[in-house]
């Protein structure tokens, strides 16, 4: 456990689909990102916690967040830094637009090659697409072993990591050599909160695009004196990716049809809890095959 590790967390900024209002969807059936607050994908936060736990286990290790998205996705990197990550990389380029999970995995794997980590930790899936494909596909592209549905890191010794997986019908403990990719379930420990000192330390961290977009940058000197306040930003060219495998051209997934499902609330019944009412309810439920 003495070795220091280079850990990369794959994180995604997603629309908060857990609290949807009536403007959540556009008429064409796609998500109206403007109407939903952008948040750190929940399971990626579980992944970040695992990465930070690893860092606690192996002092001197580093945790960096890799995210692909528009310039504002830098928020995810900052949020992670406020919780204990050392920094991150924002992969942003118009050429990435329209990428499906395959093209995304390709782009991420190109960036990962450049970062050269020992362990990649990702959330199991994102709440906007729910595919759970990106983590495993990145592992495939890199040719690294992967452990999915991870819940707890049991130990780390001599290049082998032992991980407890949460499966549908129980748990499984597996051992895996490094470098490797793990994807983490929501059942894993919640991410630690933002830390007061880290927030004060890293709040001025920005990407080049963000600095350029500012009317006036009050903190240029500070950023010059503290290099960690500059969040790395990479384009397609920076990660030597092949244009043909990116964006819409690199995405074999085509949406065939979108259906609007309208939930309708059924009439509510109020019961006082009297025995006769409960009996009647039981019979009704048995008759409708809801029970039994």
């Amino acid at each position: 456990m003495k070795k220091t590790l280079k850990i990369v967390v794959l994180a995604k900024q997603v629309p908060d689909t857990r609290n949807v209002g009536k403007d959540a969807m556009k008429a064409d059936g796609t998500v109206n990102r403007a109407a939903l607050p952008a948040i750190f994908n929940p399971e990626d936060l579980n992944a970040l916690e695992q990465a930070l736990t690893l860092k606690d286990m192996c002092p001197g290790s580093t945790v960096e967040v890799l995210t692909m998205g528009p310039p504002r996705a830098a928020d995810v990197i900052r949020d992670a830094m406020f919780r204990g990550a050392d920094g991150g990389v924002l992969l942003t380029d118009r050429k990435f637009a329209g990428s499906d999970t395959l093209a995304t995995s390709y782009a991420l794997s190109c960036a990962v090659r450049k970062m050269n980590p020992d362990i990649i930790v990702a959330g199991r899936q994102a709440i906007d697409g729910d595919t759970a494909q990106v983590g495993p596909q990145v592992a495939e592209k890199l040719g690294w072993p992967q452990v999915t549905y991870a819940e707890q890191i049991v130990s780390l010794d001599e290049g082998q990591i032992v991980i407890k997986r949460r499966l549908e019908r129980g748990v499984e403990t597996v051992s895996c050599p490094l470098p490797m990719v793990m994807t983490v379930n929501a059942s894993a420990p919640e991410c630690r909160p933002q830390h007061a000192k880290l927030v004060m330390k890293y709040k001025h961290a920005k990407t080049v695009s963000e600095i350029q977009a500012l009317q006036e940058d009050y903190y240029t000197e500070l950023r010059d004196a503290r290099p960690y306040l500059n969040i790395t930003e990479w384009s397609v060219a920076d990660v030597d990716a092949d244009d043909a495998q990116l964006g819409l051209t690199g995405s074999p997934t085509k949406v065939k049809k979108i259906e609007n499902v309208v939930f309708q609330a059924k009439e509510a019944k109020k019961m006082t809890g009297a025995d006769a009412e409960i009996n009647a309810l039981m019979q009704e439920l048995i008759a409708s095959h809801t029970l039994g």
């Binding site: 630690r192 909160p193 933002q194 830390h195 007061a196 000192k197 880290l198 927030v199 004060m200 330390k201 709040k203 903190y219 500070l222 503290r226």
Partner: protein
């Protein structure tokens, strides 16, 4: 995803007070720390932004962790296992959350790993924690014991203990004993110097000690053998890791059940002297108590906030006679008065905090360099104001939080009497605020000399001389009349030439001050923000009526009345 900072515009308003400019300057002193610490601010805006962000973190922990745990903590409470306190599970989770969020050592200097935030921010966090769980506020809020160490302890002691507190060590102040409650001069816990061990050793019993099994304890003990008064008492710091203090029992209380109230047995417990011998009660405990009283002001305001919110929510939801009960005059009047008292408590809380903050900053600066004559004058002025306003705040805010909790239960009707709603816990928790850290009666004792010496009157005249907008002028004139009544009352009481009569009417006079001051503060807020107009108006009505009652009572009293009230002393059961 509740956030007790973001959902509270009133708190945010107080953070933007114009005096913050001065406070930040005094606290950051030219922003010299920016070259030494990566988390130090570089200018005023940067510092204010830091405060907002940290309070937002605290607000999130309060809303998402501490408040949801409160019911469970109240139900299960702490236990004593093998002479040690084991916190309720929820309490342990709360401590973990505030530690991970870095919310310890909030006001301590950065060289002791603190956040070097103003007292104003600490008090705000305190208030939010109390709104979430008043019992937990005690455990977390006791970190302000470290401020007393920071002010009076040697550099060696500070270097040893303050970073521990910043890292999340919890504190306790071990003052009370079975025979020394309100009268701390009677403290008997013995401190003896052991040549052999090269340390002070503490022996004896302490009682009613909040978080008595905390990591770092400040202990008041008798170091001068043969003495019986305050001059024989010194202050010590005890480190729990010595394991020489046993928790004999914890009290079964009416409220704040999550906060362990311990009886402690000291057996040759090694301890270090804080500051100078014999100054324990006279100087250090006074400082500790003043800080603690400010803390209770925050706790009370947080509880008032919680009570008001519960009542407002219920009054909208509950329907009787075909409409929500908030539409009935009896209910909306109650709620409006509750809101005015809540906002009034908060106004007084932050006014007092700013006074305390400024004089404390000057004290620290005076340890580093000689103050200029202007600074010295200012420090003296703010010290006096802090001294006067602290007991006034403790009195008014703790009584109001009891009144708010009482009214909130009333609005809940029968349901409020059941254990089904949080309001019954808030009601029980509130009850201690006007008792501990000095009862309301003792706050009056502390505040009365500022009635007789004129500190309050002078400050009222400062408020009075300010410019107010024409639409607030009617409140201003009302306040001038209230001040005149107050002066007449003070004149009448003091001219009767009987000190016991001053004590007898003391509370009436101090509360008259409270009503005038709070109305001025709310009026000044209304001047800046229309949202406060209603509270300023309604509090003025309430305060005026209260003061009239006190006025009538005093003006119709005479020296001979004393006998009517003293007669009870001859009655026995």
């Amino acid at each position: 995803m509740a956030n007790f900072f973001l959902d509270n515009k009133d708190l945010q308003f107080h953070l933007d007070h114009p005096l913050m400019k001065k406070i930040v300057e005094l606290k950051e002193r030219g922003f010299a720390d920016k070259d030494l610490y990566d988390y130090a601010p570089v200018d005023f805006e940067d510092a204010m932004d830091n405060y907002r962000r940290v309070l937002e973190i605290a607000g999130g922990v309060c809303g998402d962790v501490i408040a949801p745990n409160a019911e469970d903590v109240d139900h299960n409470g702490p236990k004593v296992v093998n002479d040690r306190v084991v916190y309720a599970e929820g309490t342990a989770k709360n401590i973990e959350a505030v530690t991970k969020a870095g919310l310890f050592g909030m006001t301590l200097p950065r060289k002791y790993k603190g956040l070097n935030m103003p007292l104003v921010c600490f008090v705000m966090a305190n208030e939010m924690v109390a709104r979430a769980d008043a019992g937990f506020e005690n455990i977390w809020g006791l970190q302000d014991c470290a401020e007393t160490l920071n002010e009076f302890a040697s550099e060696e002691l500070k270097a040893e203990y303050l970073p521990m507190v910043s890292d999340g060590a919890t504190c306790a102040m071990d003052l009370t004993e079975p025979d020394a409650g309100s009268d701390l001069q009677a403290v008997m816990l013995k401190a003896t110097w052991s040549e052999e061990k090269g340390t002070w050793l503490l022996n004896g019993v302490k009682r009613f000690i909040t978080n008595g099994d905390g990591d770092v304890a400040l202990v008041l003990a008798r170091s001068e053998e043969g003495t019986t008064d305050a001059r024989g008492l010194s202050m010590f710091v005890y480190d729990k890791r010595s394991m020489a203090v046993k928790v004999r029992r914890i009290e079964n209380k009416l409220g704040i059940k999550g906060s362990p109230t311990c009886e402690l047995v000291f057996t040759n417990a090694p301890a270090k002297l804080v500051g100078d011998r014999k100054m324990g009660l006279i100087k250090y405990v006074m400082s500790l108590m003043n800080a603690a009283r400010l803390g209770i002001g925050a706790q009370s305001t947080g509880l008032s906030e919680a009570a008001y919110r519960e009542a407002l929510k219920y009054a909208h939801e509950r329907e009787q006679f075909g409409k929500p009960i908030i539409e009935f005059p009896a209910v909306y009047e109650m709620l409006t008065n509750m809101k005015a008292k809540l906002q009034g408590s908060r106004a007084l809380l932050y006014e007092t905090t700013r006074f305390v903050e400024i004089y404390k900053c000057y004290t620290h600066i005076s340890h580093e360099r000689k103050l200029t004559p202007e600074e010295r004058t200012e420090m003296k002025e703010y010290t006096k104001l802090a001294d006067a306003f602290t007991p006034l705040l403790k009195l008014m805010s703790s009584e109001y939080c009891n009144q708010l909790a009482y009214d909130a239960i009333q609005i809940h009707g029968g349901s409020g009497y059941m254990k089904d709603y949080p309001i019954e816990r808030i009601y029980r928790d509130a009850r201690i605020t006007n008792i501990y850290e000095g009862t309301s009666q003792l706050q009056v004792v502390a505040a009365i000399r500022h009635v007789t010496t004129g500190t309050f009157l002078n400050q009222i005249k400062v408020y009075e001389s300010q410019e107010y907008a024409p639409e607030l002028e009617h409140i201003h004139s009302k306040l001038i009349a209230m001040r005149e009544d107050y002066e007449k009352v003070v004149e009448k009481v003091t001219s009767m030439g009987d000190n016991e009569l001053i004590d007898f009417h003391a509370r009436r006079m101090v509360e008259m001050v409270g009503h005038i001051v709070i109305t001025y503060l709310l009026m000044a807020q209304a001047q800046k923000n229309e949202a406060y107009r209603i509270s300023a108006e309604t509090y003025a009505k309430y305060g005026q009526a209260q003061n009239k009652a006190a006025y009538e009572y005093v003006m119709n009293s005479c020296v001979a009345d004393s006998d009517l009230f003293k007669a009870v002393q001859e009655e026995y059961l």
